[in-house]
């Protein structure tokens, strides 16, 4: 079933993507075709099949709970476009 324009807008909102009107229409068509293709999976009866959650085989291995030095604040901030007083700077959240 093809997606509606409203559904594409809803998905884009959830994904925090600003789309132009042209993009919305293009993605509506392309996503509909892809979703149509992947719905092929519904033809399989999987009621007795457990899900595979991850790619790993064994238990995940955790390291010992010891403190190790990490990256310094300056290094972590070095790729941000706006910083102030050793912090990321963002537009105001509260008026």
């Amino acid at each position: 079933m093809p997606l509606s324009q409203q559904e594409v807008e809803h998905i884009a909102r959830l994904a925090r993507l600003e789309l132009s009107g042209e993009q919305k229409e293009l993605y509506r068509e392309q996503l509909s075709a892809i979703l149509d293709y992947i719905s092929k999976l519904r033809e399989l009866d999987t009621s007795d099949v457990p899900p595979t959650a991850g790619g790993g085989l064994a238990q995940m291995l955790l390291r010992d709970d010891e403190a190790h030095p990490g990256l310094a604040t300056g290094e972590l901030l070095s790729n941000a476009s706006q910083t102030e007083d050793e912090q990321f700077k963002i537009p105001p959240v509260f008026e």
Binding site: E7, V8, I11, A12, L14, A15, R16, L17, E18, L19, Q23, Y27, Q30, L31, A33, I34, L35, Y37, I38, S39, K40, L41, R42, L44, T46, V49, P50, P51, T52, A53, G54, G55, G56, L57, A58, M60, L61, L62, R63, L71, E75, L76, S78, N79, A80, S81, Q82, F88, I90, P91, P92, V93
Partner: protein, 488 residues
């Protein structure tokens, strides 16, 4: 030895030459940089060439000519999704334009500790999403065998760099075929490792249950040298497996039947309608060659193969939509100007992500959204179990599986642009191994009528990269497809 020949050497020949002081690391690295500066303006395998630091590292290596480090002074390239401290890491995306890696990925760190000289960062489809490098925001890489064609992807830059003989080996990553398919299209040898075999620390995440780091080179021997150094447990990646890495003795050429006792399975589901006839023909000829080398060949079935593509295109985008949520313009990368935080997110992501990444984020978001989760993601995880079981069953009867790597040879640049489903079909034979977490290798087994390389892949049980490399090495001992080089 004349300098232009240095780049023709394999990694093991380079090591021997450095040890006997036939040439220096500076000469070796200089020859690689020279070749790149001559040929790469047309090929565009590299997004960033680290000439200065590479030459410094080479000089450092030359101060210690007696070093026993296995990659001492040897130039290696790294796909631009793995971080190398101090070098750019863009993932082929505008959203990471200008990003300088603050630390080094474990896989790269191990290569550097083994003496390797990192020569630069190679082109990739944006966030490794694609099969042609056409999704790179910084321009396509051209196939060294035919510049009007794609090199495959997403590790197309690394495969082209190895095929063009810039470097003897390059790192790639494989989430759905991104090492094997470009290796196939560029006529080189590419190893996709078992999930958890090589640490993902410092690899920019795409599909976290599928992502693997692999190596591309001209020969199984060279790929084995790189693989054995990067593999093994790393505390910084909780999914990194604590499984011993066996010694990479690939066996000599003196044995007339080196594959005696090996059982090779050929899955009937991998010879489907739409496969290029020459691909099938050369794959079957290569399987016959394995038989000549002593292997026993039988037909097998992997019955859920046709579901791998739809499973993958739910799971990988779902994981990607979560992983790529971090690109919001705040902590790294360029930020779109806007008055509210909300608009910063929307505009930065809307403007900086390319079309394929946006498509996959939306598919993943949809598949995980309220009301659709069970029907899409839940069902995909269950069918993933069935695909995994197919492999478990097969490996009760055979040691390795042999199949085509990709349904076609290199296609024309632009041929599949704006046809996402047609592009996805490129990976139809490589995705199942990622869903099952098993290793695979692709190597050149001949050429089509346009003299474009054809790859065959071998798939093995978990953690049996050694077996895949041994079989490939045996094949390369009696054939010379891997020695042919493109005229560029």
């Amino acid at each position: 030895m004349i300098m232009s020949n240095l780049t023709d050497l394999t990694l093991s020949e380079m090591r021997a030459g450095l040890e006997t002081r036939k040439f220096s690391s500076r000469e070796l690295v200089g020859a690689a940089l020279d070749r790149i500066s001559r040929l790469d303006p047309a090929l565009h395998a590299f997004l960033h060439v680290a000439s200065e630091t590479a030459l410094q590292q080479a000089d450092q290596a030359d101060k210690d000519p007696r070093s026993s480090k296995p990659l001492h002074g040897i130039p290696v390239a790294v796909k631009d999704v793995l971080m190398v401290e101090g070098l750019p890491c863009t993932c082929g995306s505008k959203i990471l334009e200008g990003f300088i890696a603050p630390y080094t990925a474990t896989a790269v760190k191990r290569l550097k500790e083994a003496g390797a000289v990192i020569i630069g960062k190679t082109n990739t489809d944006e966030f490794a999403m694609g099969s042609s490098t056409e999704n790179s925001a910084y321009g396509v890489t051209h196939n060294p065998w035919d510049g009007t064609r794609v090199p495959g992807g997403s590790s197309g830059g690394s495969a082209a760099a190895a095929a063009a003989r810039y470097v003897p080996a390059a790192l790639g990553t494989d989430t759905g075929g991104s090492v094997r398919q470009p290796a196939s299209l560029c006529g080189v040898t590419g190893l996709k490792t078992t999930y958890g075999r090589v640490s993902r620390y410092g690899l920019v995440a795409f599909g976290s249950s599928l992502d693997t780091v692999g190596a591309i080179g001209r020969t199984a021997e060279d790929v084995a040298a790189v693989f054995s150094i990067m593999a093994g447990r790393d505390e910084k990646d909780a999914t990194s497996a604590d499984v011993a890495v066996p010694s990479m003795d690939l066996g000599g050429a003196q044995n007339a039947a080196p594959l005696r006792g090996l059982k090779v399975g050929v899955p009937k589901e991998y010879f489907i309608r739409g496969i290029q006839p020459e691909v099938e023909e050369k794959t079957r000829a290569a399987v016959a060659m394995l038989k000549d080398l002593g292997a026993e060949v039988r037909e097998i079935s992997l019955p859920h193969t046709e579901y791998a593509l739809p499973v993958y295109y739910i799971i990988a985008p779902a994981e990607a939509s979560a992983n790529l949520a971090r690109y919001d313009g705040i902590r790294y990368g360029p930020r779109a100007q806007a008055d509210s935080l909300w608009d910063v997110f929307f505009k930065t992501r809307g403007q900086k992500f390319g079309a394929e990444v946006a498509r996959r984020i939306m598919i993943g978001t949809y598949a995980l959204s309220a009301g659709y989760y069970e029907a899409y993601y839940g069902q995909a995880q269950k069918v993933r179990t069935l695909i995994k079981r197919d492999f478990e069953n097969a490996f009760r009867d055979v040691d390795v599986i042999a199949a085509p790597t990709a349904p076609t040879t290199a296609f024309k640049i632009g041929e599949h642009v704006n046809e996402p489903l047609a592009m996805y079909l490129e990976d139809v034979f490589t995705l199942p191994a990622n869903l099952a977490g098993v290793p695979g290798i692709s190597f050149n087994v001949g050429f089509d009528k346009n003299h474009l390389p054809i790859g065959m892949q071998l798939i093995g049980p978990h953690f049996r990269e050694d077996l895949l490399l041994q079989v490939t090495h045996a094949y390369q001992g009696v054939t010379d497809w891997h020695k042919q080089q493109p005229r560029i």
